[in-house]
Structure formats: structure tokens, C-alpha cells
């Protein structure tokens, strides 16, 4: 069967790739684009390790058929830093020891960015519910939640300053 | 003299003896002496996975050449696993 041609923008770059119609966007990102940041933890939308933003919406890339991305703007964990300047979430995750094995980290960062983009001043409870679709088995979430709250504070300071 | 303690499983091979004193410089020598005293005990230890020894509380998984300090307390136990 012939492959499907997809044109989209990934992390600011216009790109094109070929995929099978039934292939997930996650597989396309990893196999076709060699963007390995999004991970497959479950393949069924239950763990959030493959989280990306598509047209600004937080989604599990394992549940998206790759052809759906045609014409879309996609942001992966590789695209959330500003060049060499880390996103405050990335910086706070490092400083707050919010990662152990690190395999869930890309998904958490993308999901947390989606949260802070929409709600710059979340409560602890709001952070916990917003990140409920991202599983972490190492940390018990404590340091992740603290780091997201710290990043929110830092981003508010940057805006104010 | 090292004090060697036997678990209740092992006491079947020692005729009920729970504790003996043995002069041995290494675990290998200790095992040789135990086998002389209680024939079949080494096979029993292998069979019950009691292939480690605890010497003064330190559990040593593969102990054959391990020195046995004088007056050491020795237990014949299962090597540990961990996660």
C-alpha cells in the first residue's frame, strides 16, 4: 500500500514525511523524524509519556494517526526550550530533582507547559489534576509538583520583572 | 573458635545441635569440617539455597574463601536478592 504524505510544522520547522495511515504520530515522530523525546509507555493513552502539543492542544501522540498531523503545528519536548535557554519548567525540574529515571519527564514537561500556558498561577491541586494523565513510577510526584509550582512562580517573576 | 549456628532446617542434619564451636580460618575450612561432622550437610545447604554465610552479621553471598575471624558468629543462610 502506498504511504501517506504529511506536511506539518514540528517545533518551528516545516517538515514532510511519509507514513502508513494506521501508524501513530508517536511512531512517525520517532521513526520518520528521529525525534526520540516522546516515549511510548503504554500505547493506549494511559501514561502520557508521549504527550505533545498539536495546534496548541495537549494530546497523547500514541492516539493520533500520523496523517492527522497534516497541516498541524506540533511541539514536542525538543521544542520547548528557547534555543540554549531552557524553559523555566526544564530549569525547575533540574533544580528540584523532579526526575529520577527520566523516561516520563518529556511528557510531564509538555503537559506542565500546556497547564502553565493556560493557567499561569495554578494551585497544587490544579497541578495534580492537570498532570494526572502523566504517570511517574519513580518520584511519587512530590518533587514534580513542587517543580511545576516553582516554575509558575519563576515565570510570573519574569513577566513582572 | 567460631560459633556456628544452625537453623531449624539445618538441625535435621546436626542431630538437633543448634550451635557448635569450630576452629577454622576460612569458610572453606569450616565447611570441610562441618561435612566431616555432619555428612550430607553441604548437599543440604546447596539444596535449600543456604549458600551464603553471615559472619558477624555481614551476609556474604559467595563466601568459600572468606576468612573467619576468631570468635566470629557464623550463620548459614540464603543469599539475598534485592530490587
Amino acid at each position: 500500500m502506498s504511504r501517506t504524505h504529511v506536511s506539518c510544522n514540528i517545533n518551528g520547522d516545516d517538515v514532510e514525511f511519509l507514513c502508513d495511515a494506521g501508524e501513530s504520530l508517536l511512531d512517525a515522530l520517532r521513526d520518520e523524524m528521529r525525534l526520540m523525546g516522546a516515549k511510548e509507555g503504554c500505547g493506549t493513552g494511559d501514561c502520557g509519556a508521549c504527550s505533545i502539543l498539536m495546534d496548541g492542544r495537549l494530546q497523547c501522540s500514541c492516539l493520533i494517526f500520523a496523517p492527522e498531523a497534516d497541516g498541524a503545528a506540533i511541539v514536542t519536548v525538543e521544542g520547548i526550550a528557547d534555543g540554549d535557554h531552557l524553559h523555566p519548567l526544564q530549569q525547575c525540574f533540574l533544580e528540584g530533582a523532579a526526575l529520577q529515571c527520566g523516561v516520563c519527564t518529556p511528557g510531564f514537561l509538555v503537559a506542565a507547559k500546556a497547564l502553565l500556558d493556560r493557567n499561569p498561577d495554578p494551585t497544587e491541586t490544579e497541578v495534580r489534576y492537570a498532570l494526572a494523565g502523566n504517570l511517574c513510577r519513580c518520584t511519587g510526584y512530590d518533587k514534580i509538583i513542587r517543580s511545576v509550582l516553582a516554575a509558575a512562580d519563576r515565570m510570573k517573576e519574569e513577566v513582572a520583572g | 573458635m567460631a560459633q556456628v549456628h544452625f537453623s531449624s532446617n539445618q538441625r535435621r542434619l546436626t542431630g538437633g545441635v543448634a550451635e557448635i564451636e569450630i576452629e577454622a580460618a576460612t569458610v572453606r575450612e569450616l565447611m570441610r569440617k562441618l561435612e566431616e561432622m555432619y555428612p550430607g550437610i553441604r548437599a543440604h545447604l546447596d539444596q535449600t539455597s543456604a549458600t551464603a554465610v553471615a559472619i558477624d552479621g555481614d551476609i556474604i553471598p559467595d563466601p568459600m574463601y572468606e576468612p573467619v575471624p576468631p570468635d566470629a558468629e557464623v550463620h548459614l543462610i540464603t543469599p539475598l536478592a534485592g530490587g
Binding site: T44, G45, F65, Y129 | -
Partner: protein, 288 residues
Amino acid sequence: MRYVAPASVAEVVALLAGDPEARVFAGATDLVPQMRAGRPEPSVAIDLKKIPRLTGVSLTDGTWRIGAAAPTADLTGNAALAADLPGLVYAGGLIGSDQIQNRATLGGNLCNASPAADSVPSLVVNDAQAVVAGPGGELTVRVIDIPSGPGRTSLQPGEFVVEFLIDRPLPSTSDAYLRLIPRTEMDIAIVGAAARVSLDGDGNCSSAAIALAAVAPTVVLVPAAAEALVGGPISDDVLATVAAACAEAADPIDDKRGTVAYRRQVAGVLAKRAVLEAAGRAGNGGGR
């Protein structure tokens, strides 16, 4: 498998008419896991999300029109809808994570036909209608008539749901939905209960509807519970009758998520609580 993203309802109808193995989808939050679990791929996956009518949420002439392919995040983000139908919007906000809610839809939740679907009891108590398109054109069907069993619907080959129509609630009317899951998020309901309650000027219940999820092969309306409510104040005695009626109406199974006894008991508990929550809002004027 082929992927197509038609721009009109007519194109979808034509695609479905020409290929019995074709399947419509929007969020694929059920389709992809089912495919991974070994269910055969459709010949054609028809993406409904590029048809504006199917993704819109609007209020016209006192009726809410909710596209069958609108992600539930678009319901929770719609303040006017949430004011009118807080129970339905809350139910939409319970379906999976934020990631899932950016894909999952009322149409998919209904047509996947899980007895545990969170949004269906709320659609039912609000007497939602579904606009169904098919080879014979469009027709309007009550939502409660669509599920026919676990994984089965009354939709005929070639038919699909286009949008839902829900009349704005009358004044002093509100709805609520509660479900029981073991965790706080990410689970399938062990039991769900939706209530819609209208109060009169004296605080007496003037009309009511109660529906349950995950306690029978399909969503269950419990008229006996509604009858117990109507005509008087919502007292503890009435609530006990509601709970008993719901436990009685429940016909659940033992499975990996819960037991018959548990589901019966908790169906009553949640129905009672949902009535109280809906009545509390109705007492404050409802959404109007």
C-alpha cells in the same frame, strides 16, 4: 487502512455507504487501544474532525448543539454551556486526562457503547437528541435509544451521529453527575449516576430524571427514583427511596472493576448525592 478527512457530512455518508468496513472516528481514544488489543483495523478511518458542524458547540433558539466530534475540553472550556448543563460538562471533564479530553468526544463516548460511558447518563437525563446521518438522510433520535448493549448501538450500517441537541434547562433546574472510580482520575467508572432536578417556588421537586452508568448493559433511566422525588421537598426519606429505587434498578455484573453488591449499593449512594447536588444548584436558580 486508509485515512480520510472529509469536509462534509455528505462525503462521510458516501464513504460509509460504499464500504461496510469503513469506520468514523474523532478522538480514537477507544479505536487505537482496540486496534492494539487485536481488533481488526477498519478499511478506512474517517476522521470527522475536519467538518465544522461536527466540532462546533453553539446555542441557537434555546437549544444547545454540540458536535459529535467536539473534544470534551471544548465543553469544559465553555462557560455558558457549563452554567446551563453543569452535570454534563462535569461528566465530559471526567473522561480521562487533559490529553484525552483534547480528543475524546460525546459522539465517541456514546457510540463506543461502553456501559460505563461517563457522559451518557447526563445526556439521557437532559433528554438529549442525537442527529444521525445515514443513507436515508438525517433523523433525530433520543440518545437513550442509541446504546443497545456493551459495544453495540441501534445505529444502522452507514449511520453516524452528527451532533447532539439539548434544550436549555428551565429556570430552577440543574443537573449533576457523579461517578465512583478507585483513583481520582484515569479510571473507568465502577458506577455512575446522573440527576436532573427542577424545583418549584416552594422548593419542592417539580420534575426529575435519574440515570445510571455501569450497572447494566446500557445506561439505565430510573423512573421510580424520579417519581419518588416529584411533588415534595427533597427529604432524607425521599433520598432513601431514591437510593433504594436505583439499587433496585441496577442490574450489574461482577467484573474486574467491581461486584454486583458494590455496584447496587453505590448506585444508590451516588444517585442520592447527585440529586442533592443538582437540587442545590437548582435552588440557586439553576443555570439561568
